[in-house]
């Protein structure tokens, strides 16, 4: 029975068996408080090993954007697509494709939130879910 899988269990946790909702994962240093995206063996700021896995904010702001017309051969999504680098309140940036937004509405500073999309079907027929950003609907 094909399932929905995260593209990286290190960075994206699926929250329901249907794989429709998820949250980004990070690592927070208990000694200096720095948070990084994904996992790390030692804190890159203070080299402490006193680390905790944390869920990252679901919302952030666009630090910058681009519209990719010439993708890499590994890209399996639509072309052209918008790529945004999003700054999270934790003090780190997570770049990913943006969905549900006309290109002429892209702005630096626009509020966005996490969403998931099927990025590819693996060799066993599972749907691999990738994180995407989309504009925040309604009041931010």
């Amino acid at each position: 029975m094909p399932r929905r899988l995260s593209l990286s269990s290190d960075r994206l946790k699926l929250l329901d068996p249907e794989g429709t909702d998820g949250v980004l994962l990070g690592t927070r240093c208990r000694e200096c408080g720095v948070t990084v995206f994904g996992s790390t063996v030692l804190c890159p700021h203070c080299t402490s090993d006193q680390l905790a896995r944390v869920e990252l904010s679901r919302r952030g702001e666009v630090w910058s954007y681009t519209v990719v017309h010439t993708p890499t051969k590994e890209w399996k999504g639509e072309v052209p697509y918008a790529l945004v680098d999003v700054e999270l309140p934790e003090g780190l940036r997570v770049p990913a494709a943006l969905v549900d937004c006309p290109f002429d509405q892209l702005r630096v500073g626009m509020p966005v939130e996490l969403t998931l999309r099927v990025a590819e079907i693996d060799s066993e027929g599972n749907e691999v879910m990738a994180y995407r950003w989309r504009p925040v609907k309604g009041p931010a």
């Binding site: 593209l7 681009t66 519209v67 990719v68 010439t70 051969k73 890209w75 790529l83």
Partner: protein, 387 residues
Amino acid sequence: MVRAPDRATQKRPDRDVYVLGVGLHPFGRFPDKTIHQMSQEAVRAALKDGGIRLSDIQVAYFGHVYYYGMSVGEEVLAGLGLTGIPVINVENACSSGSTGFWQAYWNVATGVFDVALAFGSEKVPRGAVTTRAADSHERLTGADHMMAIYGLRMRRYMHDHGAPVDAIAQVAVKSHHNATLNPYAQHQKEFTLADVLESRPIADPVTLHQCCPTSEGAAAAILCAKDVAQRYDPGLKRSVRVAGAALRVQPFHDRQVDNPDVTELAAREAFQIADMTPADVDLAQVHDAATVGELIQIETLGLVSEGQGWRYTVEGRTSLAGDLPVNTDGGLLAMGHPFGASGIRMIHELVTQIRGEAGSRQVKKARVGIAQCSGWGGVSTVHILAK
């Protein structure tokens, strides 16, 4: 947020090091040549230029990124005549060549060897360049795309500094002009601003002619301790001193917002070793994989103040006739970018300019030059060369 402490050791050279000879194989596409043949031509040109024999070289560093069989540096030298010296293969992304040069410099500067060869070559595949292994999950995020990352940087630069697209694209016009005066360049053709802006969009606002091409080519440099250089070049008439050399990797996580810029750290170290400041620099070769890269790097090196690089460009101050000529041989944008060779190509151009041998692209004042080369993984190398 707190800034990462600077963990650099305060390195000091024990003796002066000179570049005795430099050599290039033209940059472009050479389907009938192997990486070995191109590299051998560049090494032979450097040996001839320095008036030195291969048997006098004591250690060699070969820069490359893609796979051409194991120990490719040894295989290249085997074709010239292996002499039993240590050969080290260096992979540090786009800064592979300059990383080898940095290692060669410190080997000589600390007295381990008297004569070192730094060389590098590449055959970059056509198409958009990715940085991760093909099975990395990053390919599914849309972010593993070098020129898309430059698209993000360019848009942010425009936002932060009020720079118009035209002003940034002007970098490509300037550099392509320089390349028309360079017989080794991949693009020996003038481009108008309209040509650059109307070329195919890659990652808006980055267009095709604002990106470096994918390239093949090779470069080589021979470094010597001062007293040894004197033997081959009495009076050090053509030898050029390496006044400062630094290689740094981003000390904090590369996605972190408040992260010191790695070029700033490398530049600080190189200027300290050289006992110079940015005001001493007459010309620069910097990492312009896309147009905005040139602006960001000349600003981060401290050659112009932050956010002013685009104004310098529009005013012609970075052109050959300007007060701060940048990428005088065409840079990555027009000279081309064979990864393993590029960092040494920058050294080649500084040496040529400082000697006063750059012909029609010779700049008026060329006593001190700086070369900055970036590599994926948060690498930046900075070398300062002086008369």
